[in-house]
Symmetry: C3
């Protein structure tokens, strides 16, 4: 699993250098974590965009009919009411919630995993696959709904990677229970 036996270039790093830019594994984590943070924040903007969808096209009557703003102070027209159950908005919100449920624990788990000095090749590829899987998940969930199992596969990819990292860390730290 981890490189406790095989000597690699990476073994020269001391424990103190693991969370620095001198560690290529940490740099790889930084890059892909940044990509996922940006992706998550764009979900907020996508939700707002869905709320304004018809307004952006200038179709005020449709906007009046859709009225999907959850707060009274967000209503820009006097004759519309608060609403919560627009299917397009709710779909983006479910995708966003799924992101929070999976990506935020992954951030902590992957950071912890870097501290155990994993094999660089394995670790970097896990970071890459996990990040790309979640981008695919967003595409097939929030942007272009695609028949299953595309979304389940994308979801399971990051889940299994996080479980693998958890197993590695738990085995290394088991005696500190």
């Amino acid at each position: 699993m981890s490189n406790t036996s095989a000597p690699t270039m990476h073994d020269k790093l001391t424990n103190m250098e693991l969370l620095t830019l001198d560690n290529p594994v940490f740099c790889c984590y930084l890059f892909w974590a940044t990509v996922l943070v940006v992706k998550m924040l764009l979900m907020s903007l996508l939700t707002a965009l869905q709320r304004f969808r018809y307004k952006l096209l200038g179709l005020v009557p449709l906007a009046v009919r859709r009225k999907v703003f959850p707060n009274e102070e967000d209503l820009f027209f006097k004759n519309i009411e608060v609403q919560f159950d627009d299917p397009h908005v709710e779909r983006v919100r479910r995708a966003h919630r799924n992101d929070m449920e999976n990506i935020l624990p992954y951030f902590i788990m992957a950071l912890i995993y870097v501290c155990t000095n994993p094999n660089p090749l394995v670790a970097c590829n896990l970071f890459r696959v996990a990040a790309i899987a979640r981008i695919v998940h967003t595409l097939v969930y929030a942007l272009y709904p695609v028949p299953q199992p595309s979304r389940i596969l994308a979801f399971a990819t990051m889940l299994l990677i996080t479980f693998y990292m958890a197993a590695v860390v738990a085995l290394r730290t088991l005696r500190f229970i």
Copy 2:
């Protein structure tokens, strides 16, 4: 509060070594954070399990009556509709949301707390109690609903621990406001 006065074995660590596997407090944090990450991810699977509950038993007619999938592409039978308010599914989702509201800030707070070089005995026991409290919270909330105040006590335990850590960190870093 923290071991600024009493000399302990732990005092030999320099600041640079705090976030490494040489620090037993950090290892203890790693182990229990891993446990909580796995617990949170299992909530996703528990939600999915609740949606499929009757299907797993092969009781198709009941599944048709329950129809608790929020996305159209998740429907495996043509004659069922999208639904959002199944009480069993929503209970697990509330428990999961409560996890996100409390455990994710705790991850950051506890990691920050390790950086302040706390007393090892205090810190390790806080990590253990907080993690076990949240496991109890999940059991009495999502799996076997139990009369209050069991859930409130489990919830308050991690909340108070996080507030204690916040107080320690804030006092140490107050001059950098």
Copy 3:
């Protein structure tokens, strides 16, 4: 952007010392992250307070009419039912969810940003502005609803700061893609 050219007092720090209390930028991050963690946890208590609002005033009949507890075991009166759509409770919950969507990714992003050894003056002020913006966001969203664009401005402030940090980190780590 970052202090790669201008020599400052901060340049004396080695990479290894970035995530220690010897680094004033990290201490500043610790303080303001602690403030935001406490703010987020207070949202849980505010939600509970909204649910008990009338009960705290001793107005039992109003409490019976409002009946805003989502779980059956939380009902303290026999003649009330479970309810989910109280506008005051839901407003606090939306504010809390918005916190999770924005502050939790910010915690990771800002921690990562500290690892790139940013200019101390820029970094500390970003931490301060971001934290204060979110406190304002909570005040104008959950406590005293104020006409737009006050909330959008507070929301956009942290979002833009997070995007800036993401850009800095991504540029530094782009070759580890």
